[in-house]
């Protein structure tokens, strides 16, 4: 049973970088699908607009967000002993993007760095990985970068209407006596093909045929683009996310209603509304950012905090239950209290601001 209670750890700060370029789904000339109007897509998914820039990678977005957060926290570069990157749109097949960020951010060479390949559940997994490294105080400060941006193959100038690009940074530090983080995780790999990018890995080797376009439900894909069984993912999300929150509360004997905010992965509006209603929580306690940023994969939880709770969660002690769920299939829920949380202003990144 993957329950964890990491003590002596605190979330110190959060920042988020997004492309400056905005794509509006309502005013876009391109039809999202031949089967429905763009306004119906917006009504169901809640995604009015989103950030997209075909020139920016996840690491470009995370780099600028990291510099801002380090500055806002007043951390010294030499104190940061670990950096972990969670993404499914990494700079290279190899080496790890976290290694590049270590160097470009000017972190010490005595630094732990690794990539974790997860999507919508990724922030919860990343936080737990960092918390596990820090909880004994062997290292004191670490950065977690989460997000997705430019995919390996860009087919349109506007990208997928559901997804937005973002790169976030969460600063986590050792804090003796802090009650820390309580976590629940789960995995169901039988749903591995519910969200999948079928080619470009080693199971299906690359060939020129995979550049051929095929139509699935009125949308066009080649072999290097992510396809999703929307109905299966919807069923999975509305059943798994509420259960995970309830399991965590039961395991650690707390009433989840006592928490100030519920930050769910921003999947789509209909799915999130259903999750909120199944838990019978007040909508005002479950802020959303998908209307202006879309589904931003592993960035969605920290981006929701940055875009919706700056000036609120950073001015007084605030308790959070954060739940991510998606590709894998994979899910996780984390409960924690944040005091003196630093939330950076949203960082906008221009097309020419490259890490490399």
């Amino acid at each position: 049973m993957a329950f964890f209670h990491f003590r002596n750890v605190r979330v110190a700060g959060i920042s988020a970088g997004v492309p400056a370029n905005i794509i509006n789904n309502l005013t876009a000339e391109e039809r999202i699908s031949p089967n429905y109007e763009n306004k119906d897509f917006v009504a169901t998914t809640g995604v009015i607009e989103r950030r997209f820039d075909a020139a920016l990678t996840t690491s470009d977005l995370c780099f600028k967000a990291a510099k801002q957060l380090i500055s806002d926290l007043g951390w010294q570069l030499g104190e940061i002993d670990a950096i972990i990157m969670v993404s499914q749109s990494l700079d290279f097949i190899l080496p790890a993007t976290a290694c590049i960020l270590q160097d470009r951010l000017g972190l010490s060479k005595e630094c732990y760095a690794e990539d974790i390949q997860l999507g919508c559940s990724g922030w919860t997994y990343g936080v737990s990985t960092v918390a596990g490294l820090i909880q004994n105080g062997d290292i004191k400060k670490a950065l977690l970068c989460c997000g997705d941006a430019r995919p390996q193959y860009v087919m349109s100038n506007t990208g997928d209407p559901l997804f937005g690009h973002a790169g976030t940074v969460t600063a986590i530090e050792y804090d003796e006596g802090n009650d820390g983080l309580k976590c629940h995780f789960g995995t169901d790999g039988s749903g591995y093909n519910a969200i999948i990018k079928p080619y470009g890995g080693t199971r299906n080797l690359m060939s020129t045929e995979q550049f051929n376009i095929e139509e699935i439900d009125g949308k066009y894909y080649n072999g290097f683009q992510t396809r999703m069984n929307g109905m299966d993912v919807f069923s999975f999300g509305i059943s798994t996310a509420p259960k995970s929150v309830k399991k965590l509360a039961e395991k650690y004997s707390f009433d989840f209603n006592d928490y100030d905010y519920f930050i769910f992965h921003q999947a789509n509006l209909k799915m999130n509304e259903k999750i909120i209603s199944k838990l019978k929580i007040d909508q005002a306690k479950a802020p959303m950012c998908m209307s202006h940023f879309g589904n931003t994969s592993s960035a969605s939880i920290p981006l929701t905090i940055v875009s919706q709770l700056k000036g609120i969660a950073d001015v007084k002690e605030t308790s959070f239950i954060c739940c991510g769920f998606g590709v894998g299939l994979s899910w996780g829920t984390i409960a924690f209290k944040a005091k003196d949380l630093v939330i950076s202003n949203l960082i906008e990144v221009n097309s020419d601001e490259h890490l490399l």
């Binding site: 429905y36 119906d40 897509f41 169901t44 109905m231 069923s235 059943s239 209909k270």
Partner: protein
């Protein structure tokens, strides 16, 4: 669970299609208003009303409203 009640709840998920257009024998994927977005409303309704988690294939394999009712009934 009862077929007529299911049909009524099924029809409530549509905005432009008149309720009387939806019968047990209706081939719902042929309805003009049907799309992948409607299917999400159906999944949410079935979860709400019958506490049943349908798979995408359950909807793909059903032709009529009654087919889907039978699938939900078998999982309820």
């Amino acid at each position: 669970m009862e077929l007529n009640d299911f049909i009524k709840k099924f029809a409530e998920q549509f905005e432009e299609t008149a309720p009387e257009e939806i019968q047990a024998s209706t081939e719902f994927k042929s309805l003009e208003e049907w799309s992948s977005l409607t299917s999400l409303s159906i999944l949410a309704m079935v979860d709400d009303e019958y506490d049943v988690a349908l798979k995408g294939d359950d909807i793909k394999n059903a032709v009529t409203v009654e087919d889907l009712f039978n699938k939900v009934a078998s999982k309820a």
